[in-house]
């Protein structure tokens, strides 16, 4: 089997739980951040920018750049690289400033 990060460190993760991303189910290993869970599913962008509508995902990976902003349960501007999801969380692609139209 090709090496992967879990096998490299001999991880024995706890059972995964589900959240949704744009309505579709997403498996999350406890302890992973939203960004890590999305990456595991091959998803690398979850936001479109305010001016040009361009896709963004993780850039600095440590909470400094604010590129990885995503909306969780309707609350926008959560840094996906820092926030661990909880079972049942509804994660959605964030558009622009994340606050929707008024």
């Amino acid at each position: 089997m090709r090496r992967n990060p879990l096998t490299l460190v001999g991880a024995r993760p706890e059972p995964s739980f589900q959240v949704t991303f744009d309505g579709a189910p997403l498996d999350v290993l406890p302890g992973q951040t939203i960004a890590a869970a999305l990456w595991s599913d091959g998803i690398t962008s979850w936001r479109s920018t305010r001016v040009e509508g361009r896709p963004r995902g993780v850039f600095c990976g440590i909470g400094v750049c604010f590129d990885c902003l995503v909306t969780v349960n309707g609350v926008p501007n959560q840094r996906a690289c820092l926030v661990p999801p909880k079972p049942g969380d509804e994660i959605t692609t964030q558009r622009g400033d994340g606050h929707g139209a008024v």
Partner: protein
């Protein structure tokens, strides 16, 4: 060494909004203009304000007359093709002054009535009318007055655009050039140009548009101009959709502006910007040029903003900046030639109204320089008024 070997008609010290407007009007009138700044364009208070173009906060008198003229001129500038194309976030959004209690509302109404007689458009707004104008405003307010003539602009960008257009009319810009002395005539009083760290520049007229540092420039001519710094903080939020449609502020803001107290004065001024963030002011303190951040002031601004717009409670503040308004003891700027130093003009001391008052200042000075009668009587703004004891 000469900065410009041919000299110029008007050397303007200060590339902030006032200097920029003066350059633009003078260049348009055919003058050969040079603008000098020890830093960059908008390096002083212009880069630290909110972009208020207000008539609403001024009581009847010379400053209000200046503001009424200026606000008209701003509308004209905002329609110039070079201004429109480059976007300085000009919005003729109007201002809404709100009172939390009936007695405050009555005082506001009385104030507005006086302003109306002076030519200001002011519409009374009931408590329910407030909700229509600003859906997110606190429902606990007693009412307010709406001023359609108030507007907003991004000051640094607007100043830069004015200077660029003045340059198209032949004006020259010398940034990173510090004026160290003035060239004096043989009588020892006449001002004939400037000495800088990059050379000298002969000029028929020298204009002190150095804002909060205007007193230092005046000293170079051995004249006294009592400009003092009045510190203000602004909080800047995360980018938001258009929650707040007008410039909204609490009625006690006017009292703060008019106050001579050195202690902290603060009342809410809240507005959205075209770029997205909401700007929250406004505090006033006379603490010299102290650049230390004050959590106490930030807390007060936050509290006052939330009192007006409860929904702001969840909104994040990304940064705060401070600036030093150029404050004059009688709250009127100095505009015009200085009889104590022939050849020297002043255009500084606009306190928190500099952005709004800049076009009128520039326009009137251009009239003076071309020998026309200025559209407004400039005697309330005469720079020497503090010495004859009549300025109060």
């Amino acid at each position: 060494m000469d900065l410009q070997s041919e000299g110029c008609d008007l050397a303007i010290i200060g590339a902030g909004m006032t200097g920029a407007a003066c350059a633009w009007y003078a260049a348009r009138a055919g003058g050969r203009v040079a603008v000098l700044d020890r830093g960059a364009v908008a390096g002083g208070t212009t880069g630290a304000g909110e972009g208020n173009l207000l008539v609403s906060d001024k009581e009847p008198g010379p400053e209000l007359d200046l503001a009424l003229l200026s606000t008209r001129l701003w509308r004209g500038l905002a329609e110039e093709p070079w201004f429109v194309a480059a976007s300085a976030e000009y919005e003729a959004k109007g201002g809404l002054v709100v009172a939390s209690r009936p007695d405050g509302l009555a005082a506001l109404e009385a104030f507005a009535e006086g302003q109306r007689r002076a030519g200001v458009e002011a519409e009374s707004v009931s408590a329910s009318g407030l909700a229509e104008l600003e859906p997110h405003l606190s429902p606990e307010l007693a009412g307010g007055v709406y001023y359609p003539q108030d507007a907003q602009v991004q000051p640094a960008r607007a100043a830069a655009l004015l200077i660029r257009d003045a340059q198209r009319q032949g004006a020259r810009l010398h940034t990173r050039t510090t004026v160290t002395a003035l060239i004096r005539g043989s009588d020892g009083r006449r001002v004939e140009g400037v000495v800088t760290d990059r050379g000298t520049l002969r000029a028929s007229w020298v204009l002190n548009a150095a804002g909060t540092w205007g007193g230092e420039i005046a000293r170079l001519a051995d004249v006294h101009l009592p400009v003092l710094p009045r510190r203000g903080f602004v909080l800047v939020t995360e980018p938001l959709p258009r929650l707040i449609r007008h410039k909204v502020y609490a009625a006690d803001y006017v009292a703060d502006v008019a106050s001579s107290s050195a202690a902290l004065q603060s009342s809410a001024v809240v507005e959205g910007t075209a770029a997205g963030p909401v700007l929250i002011g406004a505090s006033r303190e006379r603490v010299g040029f102290d650049r230390t951040f004050s959590l106490e002031v930030a807390r007060l601004l936050a509290k006052q903003a939330i009192e007006l717009f409860p929904a702001l409670s969840q909104v994040k503040v990304m940064r705060s900046y401070l600036g030093f308004r150029p404050y004059m003891p009688d709250h009127l700027p100095a505009i015009g030639p200085d009889p104590r130093a022939p050849g020297l003009l002043h255009a500084c001391g606009h306190e928190g109204a500099g952005i709004g008052l800049a076009p009128a200042t520039g326009h009137l000075l251009a009239q003076v320089l071309t020998g026309k009668t200025p559209d407004l009587d400039l005697s309330p703004f005469r720079p020497e008024r503090f010495e004859d004891g009549a300025g109060a």
